[in-house]
Symmetry: C2
Subunit: 201 residues, 2 copies
DNA sequence: CCTACCGATCGGTAGG
DNA sequence: CCTACCGATCGGTAGG
């Protein structure tokens, strides 16, 4: 709060509520389809109102990525960190991700899967931000796997390989579900992950 | 050839060469980013020239999907069908897919992975066409797996489950490669697929 | 936060 | 296949 008349405070409130809408638009229409005009209409603001809140479209896209990241951390990662480190935490993390996709926390499924596919071949700071989230998510899984190995609850396997296979099964179920409008993919994801974890320590 | 003066013939030639450009633009910029104007500029045609060749943007997008499908069939599926049905054909199909992604047959990696993620939540005929390709690819894999089981070269496992896991590993490697600009993901895909196939008949 | 406005690009159409 | 043109929308800016 840097001003006394509340202008900054009102701006922050606006930002937060408009941002949630922006993230949902981006998951459905893409980060490029998140236009200043459609966001303004959806938020009952003028275009210049959106610009004054977020700056350029690129800054709006970066803000949407950061907002999606916070929601992902709250919904998937933080609850898993309440579980004791080891195999149990890994199972919680994977199950939280499945629920995050299946319950459509974002209307269009996983925000990051959609954004990564969209921006993969479009160089720039937005692509770099998405690539960083992609990498951070891989790091989180690898760290949780490593902890399970260290505790002797998983055998000393190839951590990067297992993390890749787990992320692939999760993303595959997300996409199959979006394409087929069925929940069967999530059962398959659980079965596939169970088999990956069915190794004696 | 329905005319004698060659107008239809020239149209077909133009269509084919412009179409290859359209598919590449779509893989990088997305099917929405495939605009009549950018395609016209890239093909050294006027916008109305593109319209006269393909009709509406939606028809252009559908034509691009069909062109990508033909290339995918030529590069991935047909060569595998030259291999004797069974485990060997399955291995060829998977390896062809990895090469298709790794050698960047399309500039932005797998056309269908990009298009599926982009159109997943945008109802319409374009999304339906992509969903159909998604489903057809799954059917191809399932059929090849089934053949291997029938020949006794794979145990009688859950075909849909295995097809899902294989597609997930392939798509996961495609995305990891696009995000990280490394070839390591393809080695991981091969390792994961090898393990899926390491079951006694 | 607003209205009013800017040049560029969008998906086309008219007419040839 | 072309030029010329259409209304709509794009990402903003000016000024308040």
């Amino acid at each position: 709060m840097t001003t006394v008349d509340g202008r900054r405070a009102r701006g922050d409130v606006s930002r937060a509520s408009v941002m949630r809408l922006a993230v949902d638009i981006a998951t459905v229409q893409g980060l490029e389809g998140l236009t200043i005009g459609t966001l303004a209409t959806g938020a009952n603001l003028s275009k210049s109102g959106i610009v004054s809140l977020f700056g350029t479209k690129e800054q709006l896209q970066l803000a949407a990525i950061e907002a999606a990241r916070q929601i992902f951390i709250d919904v998937v990662i933080h609850p898993a960190l309440q579980v004791a480190g080891g195999r149990a935490r890994l199972e919680a993390l994977l199950e939280n991700w499945i629920a995050y996709s299946e319950t459509r926390v974002f209307t269009g499924g996983c925000f990051f899967a959609a954004a990564a596919a969209e921006m993969a071949s479009k160089p720039g700071v937005v692509r770099d931000a998405i690539a960083q989230q992609h990498n951070e998510w891989d790091e989180v899984i690898r760290r949780v796997i490593t902890r399970a190995i260290d505790k002797g609850e998983l055998p000393p396997l190839d951590v990067a390989q297992l993390a890749y296979e787990m992320r692939s099964l999760l993303d595959g179920a997300n996409m199959d579900s979006l394409m087929g409008a069925s929940t069967a993919p999530y059962s398959r994801a659980r079965a596939g992950l169970r088999r990956l974890l069915a190794v004696e320590a």
